[in-house]
Amino acid sequence: MTGAGQTLQSNRRIFQKRYEAAIRIVCLLCALVSVLTTLAIILTLAGQAGRFFSKVSPLAFFTGTDWSPTFSDAKFGVLPLINGTLLITVGSGLFALPLGLLSAIYLSEYASPRARNILKPGLELLAGIPTVVYGYFGVMFVTPLLKKLLPNMGFGEFNAASGAIVVGIMILPLVSSLCEDALSAVPRALREGAYGLGATKAEVALKIVVPAALSGIMAAYILALSRAIGETMAVSLAAGSRPRMTLNPAESIQTMTSYIVQASKGDPPRESAAYGSLFAVALSLFVITLIMNILAAKFVKKYRNVYD
């Protein structure tokens, strides 16, 4: 009797073990989906871009200043698109990076718990608004406002400044919350030491906390700029779709992302150079943002190593 009971129990144990091993394998497979995704991204982008580069020389692509993929005499010089992307990124950075840091300083050094509980969810709501809505905001409010405030600049219906401002508003909550994480990681003892020496709050924030959190702040800045580079809809709507080499924020420009949107709306035939150019541009975009994200991760690791 006891023997039969024991086998029953050990049978159940064996079953339980196999069952759990199966679950572990299923979970592992789910985790491997992410590797598959990365591989698929790299293979598709590189494969299609490779076919594109067999028609258009990489040298002409990376050094050309004329982007006119739909003309019968199509030109694929990517520099105007990179120029447009840079204009948006730098513009939005000028707006969002200082403001984001200041608001992070307020939240981490000044705000009472009650003020934080109101302000932080508000900023999170700002971050939850879809980018296409920011595009509408740019077209309907920012551009008319720019025209009114600076009538002599000659702002067009679509212009880089409007795009840069809405992207800046968009990345502001990201900068603010990542910077706040970095500032909060600075140990209290550093602050207390400075207060003990008679420093004011502003002096503690600017001369102690910010320098101590510098690598975290750098990480926040890089991530936010990488987000700005990849931002698509707000830019497509507010900044227009005219690829050109210009530094004038009043003109319409085209970024790498808004080219992809504009061209894929036209559903280019799969064998055409225009179809391939989508992937060549996306590959450049992917590589740029990947490098920036890896760099940001390095900075984050640095401040974690120091303070954790």
């Binding site: 759990e20 572990r24 299923v26 979970c27 789910c30 985790a31 491997l32 989906v33 992410s34 995704t37 990365t38 698929a40 991204i41 598709t44 982008l45 403001l99 200041l102 608001s103 300083i105 000044y110 509980n117 302000l119 900023l123 709501l125 700002l126 939850g128 608004i129 879809p130 980018t131 296409v132 809505v133 509408y136 905001f137 309907m140 409010f141 508003i169 603010s176 004011t200 709050k201 502003a202 002096e203 600017l206 580079i229 990849g230 698509t232 809809m233 709507l237 992302t257 992809i260 949107v261 894929s264 709306k265 559903d267 989508l278 992937f279 975009l285 992917f286 990947l290 920036m292 991760a297």
Partner: protein
Amino acid sequence: MSTLNPLHTTPKTLSNLARRRAVEKAFAFVCLAATCLGLLLLVVLLWGVFQDGIHWVNANFLTNFGSRTATRAGIKAGLYGTIWVIGFTGLLAIPIGIAAAIYLEEMAPKNRLTEFLQTNIANLAGVPSIVYGLLGLAVFVHFLKFGQSVLSGALTMSLLILPTVILTTQEALRAVPSSLREASYGLGATQWQTIRHQVVPAAFSGIITGIILSLSRAIGETAPLITIGAFSSISRVPERLQSEFTVLPILIFNWTTDTKEGFKNVAAATIIVLLGVLLAMNSLAIYLRYRRRTL
């Protein structure tokens, strides 16, 4: 005389102190202003959209298809399309994301493979959404021949939000104290029994928060679906996974670029509907998070 004055409060140090106090006050004000600017912009944005569009939101607006005349245009196709795409995105991404997070957080050995998986997921979370759109175009639309369908859209969106689902679920699992696991093991539970009956229930509100935030990101996401070729001007609702579709953000995009009279208002009205859905979801997520914090 100065030897009689132990604190050295000469006029010069006094003015220096006054200057420092002034700087302090000004700086505090600037920081507060920077924080409020974001919120102010939020209010201006919402108010402007509200004014442009609220009079256009009515029953017909919800049940009409698109039209060449602004007053007859409605969002039915986009509304149903969004529900279809996001529904299937959730069905795919939630179980896979949670399982992957459970593997990485609870089961995975600390080795190079795990570290590689983790780095890879973090990097995927930073890939611009439009790149996922091109992945979907090449793999789902053309290579697997799913066409410009709900299925292609949902698969693309799933891949897009998967890293976020995994990372937020991991964070929720990490917040469960290890004493809970040890107590469960101490009572003779196996690893899976511990995860299933202790860890996941304890992390539940955190996991839900992450899922809501990921799905609401997917609802507002436009670029990848334009890239895979979602139509903006269809007058049908999806009936199968193979159906063509459009979504609310694409309608907003098209109507914002439409120069005909009244379409800007239609766009604003669509934004109001979209934001209504998103605000409800985000508030729920934020509520769940703050409730968890106070528990």
